[in-house]
């Protein structure tokens, strides 16, 4: 936002998507407000608007949490009820925040926000330490395989910026997280209210040697977050121009879901199993030598084989498993529980199939991480391990290998609502 803005550096920025989870009182909205405010991402007219609202509510300071208030109903209730997306940029990176509420009944929102995130911010109140909600948020971050987790130990001002308080939370969290598959975990002591260690270094916590939250967000290494090993190209649609110039052009449009595709590579189309070679990778601005995730391209093959939406191009020596009986961690998103033997539309990459939940193996208690093998009654916001039978083979990878080819949703055939999100094991 400074006047010394460099046009070229902006063109070379990476995009980092992160999710924030926290409960009503742990200062999440204040933290986001602080991050936006101190990084000069809030415009004057927005500042004027929240100053007016703060005054109207009789506050003696500008309530930074008001920046992230969204819809009218929420403004009246004073809580957020759905995933809201925020945007800001620094000279180093552009950020997309999926801001999700943290109450128990909104697991579905946390799962939604987490599904596209490279990184999760988990807020912990320094006075309270690791509580149920912290565990729940961490479990969801691990379930959704978010590659980086930053634990923001907030309200340090209320524990006299004490290192012991910080160390205690770090130990509690580390002990708990050892049971889960979370990868890159970092701890940052802060006070969102006063701005310590959010954008500017705290003068009160000289004992902390790590960087501020913003510094960590700007520098965390994210380019390894995609699977570059297993080539996966789900076909979205077939492009046939029917013009004189491109009379025989038959291109497969899609977004690379894994691996690196190169011109001349031998590929196999699934489910047909027919083989061919890549004759070209096309874009409006010219042909490319290679394509990698998450690029959207159009691929042509040397041979004229029958490929349509829902098919997948892969390498013949590295194929996803064709599965009709899927082992899935399922998050139920809908107020109507699953009906026994009900049929759903299963959507995975660009493929659709009819499917049925054939078995509920266990339900997770997401607060204690216990498996509930007796209680198999799935309701909204529940997470359960299930078996799903599909009418046709699904070409899937394990979710922990590939978040694109390992994820699915279930759609109710009657209401057309998205009722569940699944991670294939």
């Amino acid at each position: 936002m400074e006047n010394t803005f460099d046009t070229n550096s902006y063109l070379n920025m990476e995009l980092l998507r992160f999710t924030t989870a926290g409960s009503v009182d742990d200062g999440k909205s204040t933290l986001i407000g602080r991050l936006l405010y101190d990084s000069k991402s809030i415009f004057e007219d927005q500042v004027a608007q929240i100053e007016a609202t703060s005054t109207k509510r009789g506050l003696d300071h500008v309530d930074l949490s008001l920046f992230t208030d969204g819809l009218k109903d929420e403004r009246e209730q004073g809580i957020t009820i759905d995933v809201a997306y925020r945007y800001f940029a620094t000279p180093k990176r552009k950020f997309i925040i999926a801001d999700t509420p943290g109450h128990v009944q909104y697991t579905r929102n946390m799962v939604t926000g987490a599904s596209t995130a490279n990184l999760a911010l988990i807020l912990v109140d320094a006075r309270k330490g690791v509580i149920e909600q912290t565990k729940r948020h961490t479990f969801i971050a691990s379930l959704l395989q978010i590659p980086h987790v930053f634990v923001c130990i907030n309200k340090m001002d209320l524990v006299d910026y004490s290192q012991e308080a910080y160390d205690r939370v770090v130990k509690e969290y580390t002990d708990f997280a050892a049971k889960l598959n979370v990868q890159d975990v970092r701890f940052i002591p802060m006070s969102a209210l006063h701005g310590d260690n959010v954008v500017t270094r705290s003068e009160h916590m000289t004992w902390y040697e790590g960087g501020t939250l913003l510094h960590n967000l700007e520098t965390v290494h994210i380019s390894a977050d995609y699977n570059l090993r297993d080539c996966r190209f789900p076909v979205q649609t077939v492009i046939r121009p029917h013009t004189d110039e491109y009379h025989d052009f038959r291109g497969y449009a899609g977004r690379v879901a894994g691996g690196i595709f190169k011109k001349g590579d031998k590929v196999v189309a699934l489910p047909s199993g027919l083989e061919s070679k890549i004759s070209g990778i096309h874009t409006l601005t010219g042909e490319l030598e290679e394509a990698f995730p998450p690029m959207s391209v159009t691929i042509t093959l040397e041979d004229d084989i029958d490929i349509s939406r829902g098919d997948m191009l892969v390498r013949s020596e590295n194929r996803p498993e064709a599965q009709q009986d899927l082992d899935v961690m399922l998050c139920w998103l809908n107020a109507t529980p699953p009906r026994p033997r009900a049929k759903y539309v299963l959507k995975q990459t660009t493929a659709d199939a009819r499917a049925m939940i054939t078995e509920i193996t266990y339900k997770m208690d997401i607060n204690t991480l216990h498996r509930l093998e007796e209680d198999k009654d799935i309701k909204m916001n529940d997470i359960a391990r299930v078996k799903i039978r599909s009418t046709k083979p699904i070409f899937a990878d394990e979710y922990n290998q590939n978040r694109v080819t390992g994820s699915l949703i279930l759609v109710d055939e009657t209401t057309n609502e998205t009722v569940a999100a699944g991670m294939i094991r």
């Binding site: 990176r93 380019s223 096309h282 998103l333 999100a421």
Partner: protein
């Protein structure tokens, strides 16, 4: 950055192209809502990329308030011709003539609110089942929670409490008869991203976006362009000012700002150092704090 990473603009472009192709694959009769503004011009450019070397397989829909900048209309007609796509015009004047809506009166009269009825009628008459628009989540509070695939009931209405969850990049376009979708391929772009992309791709835009001497009057904190639709009040003094427009809407409500940004590079610099949101100059958003949300519920973009 490693060899196998994209810049943020490349990633946003890839995401938008993916969304546009999903619309083509999942719907029977989709269309692009084209206002002539920079955001819908970017959507048109992305649609061209999504299907190249084939033509864009969607008609363009323009909701014509009748209160247009002449430059926007000329630009629209040229683009339609260049792309070789079909143009469908929904006319607010016709809705007024048919008695479907009543014209606002008074000094701040605008046809902006009337667009909703015309838009919903146009969708219904043409059986469009998905309409893509250039709305972005960063524009306004009510849009921060909008989905890429936004479901509308058979009255065209948006229910913010009952939106379908949207996970990963699995978009659910299933619907009942009479229902339809609004789809926003550039949901995740900011105003800055749009300008940077226009610069990077060298996309043509109406000259109204560039600073020029224009005949304007000062109203509600911005420079409104003089046109036949403006009712002058006592003390209103039309004058020549070097202004440009950050958004292009109905000519009666789109305020300009003083600027000397007459090139894309200068616009990017100006946007980067701006301390005001782009909708700050839109009269329609100033009516109340939740003005945009109320219009959205009724079926506005």
């Amino acid at each position: 950055m490693s060899n196998y990473s994209l810049t943020h603009l490349e990633e946003l472009e890839a995401e938008a192209i993916y969304v546009i192709r999903e619309v083509y694959a999942q719907f029977d009769n989709p269309a692009i809502l084209f206002s002539g503004g920079k955001d819908s011009i970017v959507v048109a450019h992305l649609a061209r990329k999504a299907f190249w070397p084939a033509k864009i397989p969607f008609p363009f829909v323009h909701i014509d308030t009748g209160h247009n900048f002449p430059e926007t209309m000329a630009f629209r007609n040229q683009l339609i011709k260049d792309l070789g796509v079909q143009l469908v015009v929904g006319s607010v004047q016709e809705s007024i003539d048919e008695g479907a809506v009543a014209e606002e009166t008074g000094i701040n009269a605008s046809r902006n609110a009337l667009q909703t009825t015309t838009l919903l009628d146009t969708i219904e008459r043409n059986n469009f089942d998905a309409c893509m628009g250039g709305a972005r989540r960063d524009e306004e509070k009510a849009r921060a929670k909008e989905r890429f695939f936004s479901h509308r009931d058979d009255f065209g209405q948006w229910d913010p409490k009952n939106q379908r969850p949207e996970l990963w990049n699995l978009f659910n376009g299933k619907k009942r008869m009479g229902e339809n979708f609004r789809v926003f391929p550039i949901s995740n772009w900011t105003e800055m991203d749009v300008w940077q992309y226009i610069l990077q791709e060298n996309i043509a835009i109406p000259e109204l976006y560039f600073a020029k001497e224009r005949n304007v009057i000062w109203r509600h904190g911005s420079w409104l362009p003089m046109s036949e639709f403006i009712t002058l009040r006592e003390g209103d003094e039309p004058q020549m000012k070097m202004v440009r427009f950050r958004t292009l809407g109905d000519i009666t409500i789109t305020g300009g700002q003083e600027s000397d940004a007459d090139t894309l590079e200068k616009i990017v610099q100006e946007v980067a150092s701006s301390r005001q949101t782009e909708r700050g100059n839109r009269e329609d958003d100033k009516r109340s704090e939740s003005a945009m949300e109320d219009r959205k519920r009724q079926g506005y973009f």
